[in-house]
Amino acid sequence: MLEVQDVTRSFDGRRALDGVSLTVEPGQSVGFVGPNGAGKTTTMRIILGLLAPDAGEVRWQGAPLDEPGRQRIGYMPEERGLYPRMRIGDQLTWLARLHGADAKAAVRASDHWTERLGLADRRGEEVESLSLGNQQRVQLAAALVHDPELLILDEPFSGLDPTGVDALAEVLVERAAAGAAILFSSHQLELVERQCEAVVIITGGTIHTAGAVADLRAAGGGTRVRVQVEGADAAGDWARAVPGVRGVRADRGAVVVELADDAGVDDVIDAARAAGTLLHFSHERPTLAELYREAVAPPDPDAEDAHPDAEVVR
């Protein structure tokens, strides 16, 4: 298990991380989300030993993560980078060996991952001759080629086409099933929601929320109902006067009503009936995107109403 414990780090007196703690279990994929500059990359660099924490520590399997331990990490940095003039096969083999694989195993792994990621006929080419999408695949192969127990991937999905996204998603599921612990950051929240059992939301250098996605959705954001009323005004003004209602917004022909808790649900139904003919009524869980929005910016119903279609902050 990877444990980041109470990690604090400042740059030039500005606090970038403040008491950050998170855990990743073997076999688990954890999504690491937060706005730009929230501290995701800094946290990952501290895990990899590229930066030293001012306080706190990183532990792996119960012991502080040391240099031999770090060689068991597969890392994909946010700023991609490989030797541009080195051939793909050579480069992957060499990286595998640098992480401790013996010569034969390194060649095997390099062959395997180029095959798996559709680069088999490109092995002899130099990295700089590939398209950006294919360079990205090589970068992924570079993170996987030494069969790491822990994957730290900084924005692995950015820059990939839809096929690439699917291929990567599949590989991550497969690695997790094989027992690897995976921490990856992303701004694509539906993807994180689909891919991860757990998520960590970081804002301004502190962990805002962490836990299983299902629990967060069940717990987060109070109660929300979707109501469709024929004959009432589309903006849902009928619901605003109901006690306990925190917010109302129009959404694809229906009205979404936010309540502090389940107690006001009956009142909403009564108000809907009074306003017109009730066509649809459903209880909704907030999406990860909504939890995220709530985390990064405190709720401001007016601002949300102004952009009813904005769903994900990319």
């Binding site: 740059f11 030039d12 660099r45 990899l48 030993g49 590229l50 930066l51 030293a52 240099e67 031999p68 770090r70 060689q71 990490i73 890392y75 994909m76 940095p77 700023e79 991609r80 980078g81 490989l82 030797y83 541009p84 003039r85 080195m86 050579d90 060499w94 990286l95 060996r97 640098l98 992480h99 401790g100 570079a142 993170a143």
Partner: protein, 392 residues
């Protein structure tokens, strides 16, 4: 994976990628051809051995004199060749036209052209005298060993004072200093641009996650150093073979000790400067910054080279002595002094120790700067920022 095998892996990569590089192959080929060409040209221009002198003859007496000239030519640094003519008149015409340098015609008479070398005239006269004496002795009844004892007594035993190899040693010192300067300059820049490539391509981040920067730098320096050493050795060996084949060069003239001391300082000097160049590379984010950041090193190096020529010609001077002890210049200045025997053993030991110590210090600094600066992508890193705030 232990430290040594990681350093070896990094070095291996440098060697393999260098050898795969097309520009490198072409340059090496061109320089190899140039080395062979220079060796052959030295043979044609210098011709090395004795000067040739052509002696025209007419008649049997004259031919015997030329035989005598050929036997004694070595002491005069001359290589006489005989060209026989049918008559005294045709031999005279040949001297006139410059076909032969001199002629000996029965009479006997020595015909000398206006440009004739005094040495060849002296040689011809000596051979003539020896021939006349031999005939006189034989007429007196002495033969064989007795005649030889009278005519050519054993030569005075000679002891050569001074160092016969002095020229060769000084030559090795000059060539050593020049090569050291060129190779350090070329490969130092290669090291620093390799470091910049790692930074600018951002591969440094995944490398550093797996390998401490010290090993990355050391592996790079050693790998490229090996390539530089082999390349230089190839040029030298090819040049020497060509020069030997063309007769311009006698390998036995080079004292093995001189070559060994030059080689030792060559390697130590390369290590020191390559680490310094690696440090300079770590301060740059783009290749364009390299020239200005490496210029202090280049100045040290060029200065050292210029001063080394002075030190080779007067190895006992105060400046030469001081410079040969201290690291930035020791590798270029010391070999010339050692070769010429102007150095006590403790001076060598001290300079080697200082150089190794400084190399370690530079490597540590480079390691620290590389850690601090490599995560900063944009722009040049100031030395202070790299050493201080950004340490990881």
């Amino acid at each position: 994976m232990n430290a040594r095998s990681q350093v070896v892996l990094v070095a291996q990569r440098e060697v393999r990628e260098r050898l795969r590089n097309k520009a490198f192959r072409i340059t090496t080929l061109i320089f190899c051809l140039a080395a062979v060409g220079a060796g052959l040209a030295a043979g044609l221009i210098g011709s090395g051995g004795a000067d040739e002198v052509t002696v025209g003859t007419s008649g049997p007496d004259a031919a015997r004199v030329v035989d005598g000239m050929q036997a004694a030519g070595k002491s005069y640094d001359l290589k006489p060749e005989q060209k026989a003519f049918g008559s005294a008149a045709s031999a005279r015409a040949a001297v006139d036209e410059g076909d032969v340098d001199l002629a000996i015609v029965d009479g006997p008479r020595l015909l000398v052209g206006v440009d004739a070398d005094a040495r060849s005239i002296a040689l011809a006269q000596a051979a003539w005298r020896a021939d006349a004496q031999r005939q006189a002795v034989e007429r007196g009844g002495l033969r064989g060993a007795e005649a030889r004892a009278v005519l050519s007594p054993a030569p005075l035993p000679t002891t050569e004072l001074g160092d016969a190899d002095a020229d060769a040693k000084q030559g090795v010192a000059y060539i050593g200093a020049l090569l050291l300067y060129l190779v350090i300059f070329t490969y130092g820049l290669t090291v620093s641009s390799g470091v910049v490539e790692e930074k600018s391509s951002r591969v440094v981040e995944i490398l550093q996650a797996a390998v401490p920067p010290r090993r990355l730098l050391l592996g790079k320096v050693l790998g490229l150093g090996l390539v530089g050493l082999l390349q230089t050795a190839a040029f030298l060996v090819l040049g020497a073979i060509a020069a030997t084949a063309s007769g311009a060069f006698d390998a036995s003239g080079i004292a093995a000790g001189a070559a060994a001391i030059t080689g030792l300082y060559f390697m130590l000097g390369y290590l020191l400067y390559a680490c310094a160049y690696a440090m300079a590379g770590a301060l740059c984010a783009r290749q364009e910054d390299l020239q200005s950041v490496t210029s202090p090193l280049t100045i040290l190096l060029v200065g050292g080279y210029l001063l080394s020529t002075g030190a080779i010609s007067s190895p006992d001077g105060t400046i030469a002595t001081a410079m040969s002890l201290f690291p930035p210049w020791a590798p270029i200045v010391m070999p010339g002094r050692v070769i010429q025997g102007a150095v006590a053993w403790w001076e060598v030991a001290l300079s080697v120790a200082l150089m190794l110590a400084m190399t370690l210090v530079v490597l540590r600094l480079a390691d620290r700067i590389y850690r601090g600066a490599s995560l900063q992508v944009r722009g040049r890193t100031s030395l202070k920022a790299a050493l201080g705030g950004a340490g990881r």
